[in-house]
């Protein structure tokens, strides 16, 4: 058995904070999934609960930030440890924002209420599926830091998916605006649906940010996305 050559107290602190980030990641992924389910099925009570529970995500995110700052204060980390700990603070903030977008979708769901939907939902479910996939991929990457090559290939995939999300979002907007311009009765719900599409696009964007931040943890280069040739 290889002799343990670590900094025991720092390694234990890292383990603790990483397990909390893992838990927060799972919670946020579940929130995004439940949000869309409750939206399609008009489970208003479920939506209300998600909005009420958002405070728990905020508190948990803040708790992780506080623990991380305390570790930085106590352990004075350097090099890869410091990159990881500072990135944890960043990722927690991103996760907290993602949960806010989900909560925003729930609020829109409540506003629409039991009114029938004006659309058959073609593109929005596609966006939801893609956003969830991107979130899962980026959090997997951050929680299981890989070698640079693997990190780059995942970021490359996510950037391509992010472009697709932008395209889908613009299509949803264009279609809805077109319909709203013909029928003024559709304006209210149409605007709400544009917001939902926008929120899903933001979730995807922030997922890409998390993956890009992981590249910084691996390489120490804050411009890794630009400096490494992603087409190579």
């Amino acid at each position: 058995m290889e002799k343990y050559q670590g900094r025991k107290s720092l390694d234990l602190d890292l383990l603790e904070v990483e397990s909390k980030v893992n838990a927060l990641s799972s919670q946020v992924q579940a929130v995004v999934k439940n949000t869309m389910e409750s939206f399609y099925t008009k489970e208003l009570e479920k939506s209300k609960k998600i909005i009420d529970d958002d405070i728990n995500i905020n508190n948990f995110s803040r708790e992780i930030e506080t623990i991380t700052i305390e570790i930085i204060r106590r352990q004075s980390p350097l090099a890869s440890d410091m990159r990881k700990l500072t990135s944890i603070i960043f990722v927690c903030q991103e996760l907290e924002r993602i949960a806010d977008y989900a909560s925003g979708i729930c609020k829109i769901g409540l506003k629409i209420g039991n009114e029938p939907f004006i659309t058959q939902f073609e593109k929005i479910p596609k966006m939801e599926e893609k956003a969830l996939e991107m979130l899962k991929k980026s959090l997997n990457l951050f929680c299981n830091i890989p070698e640079i090559e693997k990190g780059l290939s995942v970021v490359k995939e996510l950037m391509a998916q992010d472009d697709e999300m932008d395209y889908l979002n613009s299509q949803v907007q264009r279609d809805l605006i077109k319909r709203m311009s013909k029928d003024a009765n559709l304006v209210k719900q149409g605007t709400f649906l544009i917001w939902i599409s926008h929120n899903l696009e933001r979730i995807a964007d922030r997922s890409t940010d998390i993956a890009e931040r992981t590249l910084y943890v691996i390489s120490g280069d804050s411009n890794a996305v630009i400096n490494y040739d992603l087409d190579a």
């Binding site: 900094r7 004075s76 350097l78 090099a79 990159r83 280069d221």
Partner: protein, 294 residues
């Protein structure tokens, strides 16, 4: 009041650093280049070790060091205990000459001249040294600073030299009214600054510091660190330290030494501060700065 003083000091230091940068730019300062062994190379280094190996009797302590020290910069030398940091810096001003069993192979150059061809006293004037424990002479504060210039035959302007040196070492205000008192009456931090003033009195170009703050409290340490930054405007400073945060705070460049299984010290990485403490290229440096070997 306190924060105002800090602000004034800070802006003055920033201004000086800006002037220094612009002067270096005008002097067509060229950027250092990192070679394939992760070692920085400079144009016109003030100190240089070329394939330097040092042994004590039959025991090889440090082997094959190639290291260039640029002018007017702070370079920290880091590495676990026993990796040869102190042994290496002692070669730069021939301090190892005083150890009978120490043997050196390879070359050490000061301003492109082999140090062994220069008179040891002259080398030590130009390349001064400050040790871990403050070591003032059992003399008055004044005599401690005036000692070097006196031995050097400088008899005029001694008062001026003493005052200037104490001012540069940020000690003048505290001792100006008790210059004739024994240096032993000063606190540890003041004694260390007195030793720096004593080194400065003979106008050195380089100061070697061997863990200068390890015996000092945080406030004295902070003052020495400020001093190091200010002095680096006109003097090159090579500092050995075990305090990673201190090395990251004060140095422009950092060199990491490591002893392998045979207990022979080697220079494994030499790079810019941001690289060594932010993203080291060598796994061993990463393990050392993150506290996973030591």
């Amino acid at each position: 009041m306190f924060s105002d003083t800090i602000r004034v000091k800070w802006s003055a230091l920033n201004l000086m650093l800006k002037i220094k940068k612009s002067i270096l730019k005008k002097m067509s300062y060229s950027e250092p280049v990192t070679d394939k062994n992760n070692i920085l190379n400079f144009e016109n280094p003030i100190l240089e070790a070329r394939n330097l190996s040092i042994s004590y009797g039959k025991t090889l302590a440090v082997k094959n060091v190639f290291m260039q020290v640029p002018k007017n910069k702070v370079i920290s030398l880091i590495g676990p205990s026993g990796c040869g940091k102190s042994t290496l810096i002692r070669c730069f001003n021939r301090m190892n000459d005083t150890i009978r069993i120490a043997k050196i192979s390879g070359e050490v150059l000061y301003n492109n001249k082999v140090v062994n061809d220069i008179d040891p006293a002259e080398v030590r004037y130009k390349v001064g040294m400050v040790f871990q424990k403050p070591n003032p002479f059992p003399k008055s504060i004044y005599e401690n600073v005036a000692f070097g210039p006196k031995v050097n035959g400088m008899k005029n302007n001694l008062d001026e030299i003493v005052e200037n040196s104490l001012r540069k070492a940020d000690l003048w205000k505290e001792v100006k009214d008790r210059l004739k008192e024994s240096a032993y009456g000063l606190s540890g931090g003041q004694q260390q600054r007195l030793c720096i003033a004593r080194t400065l009195a003979v106008n050195p170009e380089v100061i070697l510091m061997d863990e200068p703050c390890s015996a000092l409290d945080p406030i004295s340490t902070d003052r020495i660190e400020d001093l190091i930054k200010e002095l680096s405007l006109s003097v090159t400073i090579l500092i050995v330290t075990h305090n990673m945060q201190q090395a990251a705070r004060v140095s422009d460049y950092a060199a990491c030494m490591m002893a392998g299984e045979a207990r022979i010290g080697e220079l494994i990485e030499y790079g810019e501060n941001e690289q060594i403490f932010g993203n080291p290229k060598d796994k061993r440096t990463e393990d050392y700065v993150t506290g996973r070997i030591g």
